[in-house]
Symmetry: none
Subunit: 225 residues, 4 copies
DNA sequence: TATGAATGAGATTTCATTCAT
DNA sequence: GATGAATGAAATCTCATTCAT
């Protein structure tokens, strides 16, 4: 959902070049900002550079976003925070076993976040969150909490339906999140590789971790009810 | 862990208090720098604050270390890079199965690095390395490469002695490193926890991962020689 | 006092609504500008805000007034500088003693300027004039000088008719102006009041000052002709 | 009281050039700041210019004062707010009639504030106070309130000793302050003078106002006790 | 005529580094 | 060796003014 357009706009297809650019601006700026924030971090990214990459001047950036922090928040919402309603709905409608649901969850997460630049935002918050408490709070509220809530609902479904053992859900959530967080950090760090290509296969790693988690959640004979 | 002392210090214990202080300076600075770099990151740590925490003036810091980057490199050497000779020697002398050796490796790593502030340096390099290419290069050369080499020798030993299957060593290295890196990142990121306590038990996690890796390395009947 | 209208407007009352609006533009802008300049000062008033308060866009403001300074000059002319022809005529036609004339002068000044927002313009020029030499010069030429000239004529009339002692006119002018200026500054300065209500009664103050001045101008026996 | 010096300093008269400069710095900066703030106003004065006039670089200014606002507050304290203890003591010790005291008060005020650049600070607060609420609040607390309190004590003394009629003190305070405020504004505005020299004699004006106020405070037969 | 998106010079503030003492 | 005052490049954000539509 880039820029919301009114119904009137929808039926008036004749636009000036200027109008078209204007509507595209926020999206262009958000894209440029995502690129640069992920590439260089929040503090090290200069506002002017974001503007330049979006093809506008310094001043124009501040026409659309009142400060660098607000720009960053908008980037978070665009790429992570704002998508949870959609994702939640998708999981509400899911039919199938909860084990399948969990595997699906980790897979689509990898496709939609892990593989994309959005994964860099999590790495960024882990690095710089401490230096920008407002941003950290915002990220926790808009991304971490909804993410936890979504996972909690999945795990609860499994327990309620007798598919999973009645484990400590909060603990289990971390078992699911851990490999995802790890992959995001790994992906954005050339650091751990001596020369060139990392020898870690993310999809295989994720699948292995998923099965490990599911094994831990499995109902085994002899467990006390 | 107060201030790590060099080998020289270790064997020259008789000093006047004044000489002592003087000789101790760099160590105090390195300790202060480690604390602050890990706590706030490289870019966000102010030189003056490092000096202040070490109880000296800003000028003194630059007397011992010509720049903030050199200070950081010294911190890396003191805590990670400079310890590989000792660690290598320890493993050269190791007697026992290679499986035991690998388990021991992961355990002592956890004790000597994972649990200490030094683990923050890895997280730091993964976060900020991109903005400081010189530091990244230095870290790769002084920490990542020796670490890989050490693991490579262990794995090679296992294969040479017929204890491990003849796997792709470069790939296997990452299977060992991944959980260690993961723990370092996890430990230094309050970010992913919504409220308070993380629910991960590092030692158990590490042991599980070790066994998983060893299982993958195990020689099984039917493997082709 | 809604929007002051020019003499032209006064005698051409039949217009279509559209024309009306168009013609009213500059007046609306001048009114908005007066409000804001007086409220926030010249430098601190943003052009866009003036336009917004007048209900037009930023661009339109610059269509009518080529710069913020020119806008301010126009505000001065509309409210002060441009009214001297009318005021001069009124005083040319005045019949009565010159003492009455002087009292009348101070009273109508209070009604038409002192009590209105226009008084804020004088305070503003005294505050910010130093930073905007062009504006200061303009104000001196269009407001201060005509004001002085008007007073000079009144005083000269009094002396010529033998009603006033033949004092130094330039000096006497300041005796008349000082209390008026004082009231304008007082009115626009919440600064000097610790809590709430100022305890000064402007009309009484002005009347007292007028009598003091008149006493100083009075012809007393024993004065040398 | 420029820069407070410790006892140790007092008896170690041998100083390096650098030390001497260092001690002089805050005073030099405050003097430069007073000059420029009075000349151009708070908003229009650039920090760098203050530094330059004090003969130091931009950065040095911020070594001594953490922000432009704090610098301004320091200027206020140095020139006005910080002097009330001294002034209060002087008036506590005053011997003589309260009428003499009030005349003395207005005269020394003129000598110590009105005639000096410090008078420009009041003009400045009246002009720009509205745009800088923090500064306005500070000024009210540190200058306006102590000033009012001092005058209140003088007036109360006169009433208590039967020298003054039992008037409304808060009202009377403004009668005393008004001409002083007026003079400060008048002095700092070339605005009201057509060409060159103002024809207003401040001392005479002040003396006249003092007598007017004293007349208003005088105990007259027929006043009800 | 009217719009409002775009510009960019300019202001405050930070901090690694230097160097006189 | 040790100090800490001084520097100045660099970063964020504002707003009068322009100009394509």
């Amino acid at each position: 959902m880039p820029t919301p357009r009114s119904l009137v706009d929808k039926f008036c297809p004749v636009r000036s070049k200027r109008e078209r650019r204007k509507e595209a601006r926020p999206g262009e700026l958000l894209a440029a900002a995502l690129d640069l924030f992920v590439e260089k971090g929040f503090a090290a990214t200069r506002s002017e550079e974001v503007a330049a990459r979006a093809g506008v001047s310094k001043g124009t950036l501040f026409l659309y976003f009142p400060s660098k922090e607000e720009l960053f928040k908008a980037v978070i919402m665009e790429n992570l925070g704002g998508r949870f309603t959609e994702w939640n709905a998708e999981f509400e409608a899911f039919e199938g076993t909860t084990a399948e649901m969990l595997r699906y969850c980790m897979n689509v997460w990898w496709e939609r976040v892990g593989l994309t630049k959005a994964s860099g935002l999590t790495k960024l918050m882990m690095s710089e969150g401490g230096n920008f408490p407002d941003l950290a709070e915002f990220y926790r509220e808009q991304v971490v909490r909804p993410g936890h809530d979504l996972l909690r609902r999945i795990l609860q479904r499994g327990i309620d339906r007798g598919e999973f053992a009645p484990v400590d859900i909060d603990h289990a959530i971390y078992s699911v999140i851990a490999p995802m967080v790890f992959l995001m950090l790994w992906k954005h760090s050339a650091m751990v590789c001596v020369d060139g290509e990392s020898a870690l296969d993310p999809e295989k790693f994720l699948a292995t971790q998923a099965e490990t988690v599911l094994y831990g959640l499995s109902v085994r004979p002899g467990d006390k009810a």
